[in-house]
């Protein structure tokens, strides 16, 4: 086999794609349709709550086009990081959608479901054995951290996908996956160079984002050869340029020359990007360098509490000039008010937009205030009821707070909404972002087959 062709319909399953582009892709007779369905980018909530950050109808719309087209062409559909985060409830979300499609369209096919959630006892055993190390700058992990985690998933490489393909799976739904694996699996199975296959997967996983103009909801096509690969956007509106493809190699990575993944890293020091015609780019020279031992990346989150917020504007220039001392006084008053009542363990924060709301994590960087502020009062506590109490009390205290120099004595805050407070539900944070040494990269990701 001299050429393996891969269709990547969209950057994230559920982000959609134009039918014209998809049809162009199918005309090129792909050997596989692959799509990445997840990311840690939307933050820790989705992994913790077991919910998808993509909408069910949007995901169903994409799969409803991809699966029948692939079955007709006799090629597999591979979905990685199903349900957005890849834990059991996320995979279940995707399985449920595929079952519905199979039933509604009366389709017959073999599906493989690959799980990636690890049992806590298993992870703790590996902590005890010293098999788990933090991925800098994440902190060290303890058995207590593992106990606190809600779901822990591991990013699988291409190995479980290859096994599922060998067993005749026509649709593969996998839990947390290293993004390029779904694109590279069939190519590696056929013996194509792993460095090129994974580098191609790295670009295809974001579909048309690597084109110019970029789009997260349009298709990209990959042609893999023995010593290079070629990228082609499928919409006449877009072009791949050496710059758009090279620039994408930088995107969301720590270092563009070495891209680590399960079992090794791709090295791009010798990579060449060439424009071969108006809209296609050829890439060569990327190499896969295996690590001596096989490591997988773990991701886990713990529940921190429940959140309630209140949003309010401020236009008074005297209040704006004193905003820091006002928020500090309100915090002190809230703390003092509930001290003896017994609500003492909470997080109360004032996000001040119009000054340093967006870049609050760089408190020492220079700031400038606009002539109006949006203040988000945020309370996080052990229960929703306590979060409501703290947020509501901070809001009413701030509304009527008699700061020094105040001449607008009717009220300090402009509320855009009634009710002014909003329950945000459970709050999570990442607490596992570690590498785990594994003996067998396949065994840990069990595969179940379903025949429709």
């Amino acid at each position: 086999m001299n050429e393996l062709r891969i269709l990547s319909p969209t950057a994230i399953l559920g982000y959609g794609f134009p039918m014209e582009s998809f049809a162009e892709g199918m005309k090129r007779k792909p050997h596989v349709i692959a799509v990445d369905a997840g990311s840690t980018d939307p933050g820790p909530y989705y992994l913790g709550a077991g919910k998808s950050f993509t909408d069910r109808n949007s995901v169903k719309r994409d799969l409803e086009i991809m699966i029948p087209a692939a079955l007709e062409a006799g090629i597999p559909v591979i979905v990685g990081t199903a349900g957005g985060s890849g834990a059991r409830p996320h995979v279940e979300f995707a399985v449920d959608i595929v079952k519905e499609i199979a039933r509604e369209k009366q389709l017959s096919f073999k599906m493989a479901v690959i799980q990636s959630e690890f049992d806590k006892e298993f992870v703790k055993e590996n902590v005890a054995k010293g098999n788990i190390s933090p991925l800098f700058p994440a902190p060290e992990i303890t058995e207590a951290d593992v106990d606190e985690s809600v779901h822990i998933v591991a990013q699988m490489g291409e190995e479980p996908f290859i096994e599922a393909l060998e067993n005749g799976a026509e649709v593969i739904l996998a839990g947390r996956s290293y993004d390029p694996s779904v694109f590279a699996a069939l190519a590696i199975k056929y013996g194509f160079d792993k460095g090129l296959a994974i580098h191609l997967g790295k670009i295809l996983e974001c579909a048309a984002i690597a084109a110019l103009p970029g789009s997260g909801s349009d298709c990209m096509f990959g042609y893999l050869h023995q010593d290079n690969f070629v990228l082609e956007p499928l919409s006449p509106l877009r072009k791949c340029t050496t710059l758009s493809v090279a620039a994408h190699t930088l995107y969301e990575k720590t270092n563009p020359y070495v891209l680590p993944g399960p079992g090794g890293a791709i090295n791009l020091h010798e990579s060449k990007f060439e424009q071969i015609d108006d809209n296609k780019v050829r890439v060569s020279g990327s190499r896969f360098v295996p690590t001596e031992e096989y490591f997988v990346k773990l991701e886990g989150v713990r529940r921190v509490g429940y959140r309630t917020i209140s949003c309010a504007g401020v236009k008074d220039p005297i209040m704006i000039s004193k905003i820091d001392s006002i928020t500090q006084s309100v915090k002190d008053r809230v703390k003092n008010n509930f001290e003896t009542y017994g609500i003492t363990d909470f997080f109360l924060d004032f996000k001040i937009y119009g000054r340093n709301g967006v870049m609050g994590m760089f408190p020492d960087a220079p700031q400038s205030a606009g002539d109006e502020l949006l203040i988000i009062i945020e309370a996080v506590a052990d229960t929703q009821e306590q979060a409501d109490t703290i947020c509501g009390f901070a809001r009413s205290t701030m509304l009527h707070f008699g700061y020094e120099g105040r001449i607008a004595t009717a009220g300090n805050l402009a509320f855009p909404f009634s009710p002014s407070d909003c329950k945000m539900g459970e709050v999570y944070e990442f607490n596992v972002y570690h590498l785990m040494k594994v003996e067998d990269p396949k065994k840990l990701f069990p595969i179940e087959y379903v025949q429709f």
């Binding site: 840690t40 933050g43 820790p44 800098f136 620039a247 190699t249 870049m359 990442f430």
Partner: protein
């Protein structure tokens, strides 16, 4: 001569690289300007630490990437994505200080 970074760069952006890192990309319009900036070491750890008022020890890597005419700086996220007190879950709006940056080339 003094330059505004926004005049010579076609892309200035920030983004998460996993929940514990922030990464900044600056892609130049012209190869010639990129080469000058690279050889003059306009971007270095000290300069970047100063721009964001962070300790130099928080800078994980600063790399020039010729194929994209780009400089890439990756730092420890002062607060991990989505943790309490954090206000940019995707890390995509932390680039503004670079847009005000000026530099001198002889």
């Amino acid at each position: 001569m003094e330059y505004n970074l926004t005049d010579v760069a076609s892309v200035i952006r920030s983004k998460n690289s996993g929940p514990y890192e922030l990464t900044f990309d600056i892609i130049f319009k012209e190869v010639e300007m990129y080469r000058k900036v690279k050889s003059a070491q306009v971007f270095n750890a000290q300069m970047f630490a100063h721009l964001y008022h962070i300790p130099e020890s928080q800078i994980i890597s600063l790399v020039h990437f010729d194929p994209a005419k780009a400089v890439k700086i990756t730092i420890v996220r002062p607060i991990p994505s989505g943790a309490l007190g954090e206000t940019d879950v995707y890390g995509a709006q932390q680039h503004a200080p670079l847009m005000k940056m000026k530099f001198t080339l002889s």
